[in-house]
Amino acid sequence: MIDFVQNTVDGMMFGSSYALLAIGFTIIFGVMRRINLSFGATIMLGAYIGTWLHVHHQVSVWIVALTTLASTVLVGIYVERLCFHAIRRSAVLASMVSSFVIWMQLEEAAIHLLPERTYAFPALLAAGSFELGPFLFRAEQTSMLILAMIIVGVLHVLLYRTRFGLALRAVSENSLAAAYMGINAAWVTLCAFALVSLMGGVAGYAILSTDAQITPFFGLWATFKGLIAMMLGGMGSLPGAILGGLLLGVVEAHALWYLGNEYKDLSAYLLLFGMLVLRPGGLMGQRILSREALAFRRV
């Protein structure tokens, strides 16, 4: 029983980082009705630029963190301009495929930056752990959960209390109507991309400093985990993304504990497949599903 609770808690802590990735996918999907498959690669390249500074110029950890965030935002803007802004709105598929092709480009750039396979990633906080009753908490995972809660809180204020948030929600509700109201949808989209990349950068930094290392595989890994968590919760739903991320984390933690490491990823895909079959809209996405049915009738 103690194991079960401990696994659930661990899963939720790690799941909070999945939730952050999923929020990134969900916002882009909401605003653009497209999936940005290079999201993970964007974060990876940003983190590689930070690590490159750390490896070659021995800068302090704070500068690494800030560089990671700044370069993630820049890479995100590059992806938006090339794969989403340049391709016309109706070509959903072309822009999805090109966002995946650009993943190759970003990964290649990251490998050129740091040619070896694995690098140590500098963490902001020292690793440690503390006990609470019979349960063990790792400090960096706990701080990840707290960080995720702060980000979600800030995001909530930004989306529901500011003019920019209103514009963003208007564009994701109906971009044509938003354009008639004088909202510059292209600008809002670019800002949303920058915002999401910033968030992704924070999530990526938190995950990488928990892992304490960075490899080129991180890009695809982050894309898949974020995508799965988003689909579990329901496309385009913010609470869904958080719920989906936590669910994914908990299921993976239990699969890891009871079945072994090789079943961890299998269980994630199985969970997603089951969810899509039984409840195609995800946990929170049924309403959105019916709205999207028209938009995706013809791919």
């Binding site: 999907f29 999936i35 090339l82 794969c83 340049a86 391709i87 016309r88 070509a91 959903v92 598929l93 072309a94 822009s95 999805m96 495929v97 090109s98 995946f100 092709v101 650009i102 993943w103 190759m104 480009q105 990964e107 290649e108 750039a109 490998i111 050129h112 695809l220 898949f224 995508l227 799965i228 689909m231 496309m235 090789e262 990823d265 299998l266 895909y269 199985l270 997603l272 497949f273 899509l276 079959v277 195609p280 999207e292 049915a293 938009a295 995706f296 009738r297 013809r298 791919v299």
Partner: protein, 304 residues
């Protein structure tokens, strides 16, 4: 010479992979799980020729049937969702298959060596062509026989009622349903046919490469599978072939001189092609121009 023959085999195999996505795309569905069916075909055919020591032709057909069977099984649940959700569901399926083969270990002694899939080390001993003394020319001819057969079958299907039904489903599901077409049957049939074609492609791949491992069948391969028909356009099967020649022949091989920087240029070129021609390199207009150029159909009225 053997380099060009190898390239021709690769183009043939990738054409099959692209066609498997093409069939499904006619019905308006996009699947990123084609690499999964390709993997099932590759591993099944390899296991059949290496462990069960079957000749290539029955092994190939059996592998295609196995892949088609899995496509059929996946088709029913997966086609309940559409569009981007189907994309993600099929990514999940493809990764599931990849992880399955990542964990699969089935080693049996044959003669003085142990053969079979060896989880992370891959499946090394698929040496049917070498063991039976096939020359590169014969292998290339063998691969292209299947490519031509399948392209002909699809070309013919496009001109029959079946093709019209597939395209009708892709154009407007509601209208097609209202004239009495069973949507699920059509989509599952298309999925099964796609699985069959991908299975043949995978079986040929395993035997020409003599070595497969799970890293071959990542979502990158699945993305290639769908980018061929997207880039080539859905107006005819030749579009897919043109796109494969363009990507594998011109881009991948032509950019080899750029060494490590190849992927960066490669990504940019594909994105440019998609920007400039969103409906495909070989769309209806290009086909019309080509027809006129070779003197065919000059009198035909353009229906595009």
């Amino acid at each position: 010479m053997s380099y060009y023959l190898g390239l021709a085999q690769l183009i043939g195999i990738h054409t099959l992979l692209g066609l498997s996505a093409y069939v499904l795309m006619l019905t308006g569905q996009l699947s990123l799980g084609q690499a999964g069916f390709f993997a099932i075909g590759a591993y099944s055919a390899g296991i059949l020729t290496v462990i069960f020591e079957l000749p290539i032709l029955p092994a190939l057909l059996a592998a295609a049937v196995i892949a088609a069977f899995f496509a059929f099984l996946v088709g029913f649940p997966a086609l309940r969702v559409k569009g981007l959700m189907l994309v993600v569901a099929t990514i999940a399926f493809g990764e599931f298959v990849r992880l399955f083969f990542f964990n699969l270990s089935w080693r049996v002694p044959r003669g003085d060596i142990v053969v079979g899939p060896d989880s992370t080390n891959g499946f090394r001993e698929i040496r049917y062509f070498v063991a039976n003394g096939w020359s590169p020319w014969e292998i290339t001819a063998f691969v292209w026989t299947f490519v031509i057969l399948i392209m002909a079958a699809l070309w013919w299907m496009d001109r029959s009622r079946a093709g019209a039904v597939l395209r009708a489903v892709g154009e407007d599901e509601l209208a097609t349903q209202s004239v009495g077409v069973n949507l699920t049957a059509v989509k599952v049939t298309a999925m099964t046919a796609g699985g069959f074609i991908a299975g043949i492609g995978g079986a040929l791949y395993a035997h020409t490469a003599t070595y497969v491992d799970h890293l071959t069948f990542t979502v990158l391969l699945a993305t290639f599978a769908v980018s061929y028909p997207i880039l080539g356009g859905l107006s005819s099967v030749f579009g897919t072939l043109v796109a494969v020649v363009f990507i594998q022949g011109v881009l991948v091989e032509g950019l080899r001189f750029m060494g490590d920087w190849r992927n960066i240029v490669f990504g940019l070129l594909i994105i440019m092609a998609m920007n400039l021609k969103p409906s495909g390199l070989f769309d209806a207009r290009t086909a019309q121009v080509l027809k006129r150029a070779v003197g065919l159909g000059a009198q035909e009225k353009s229906d595009a």
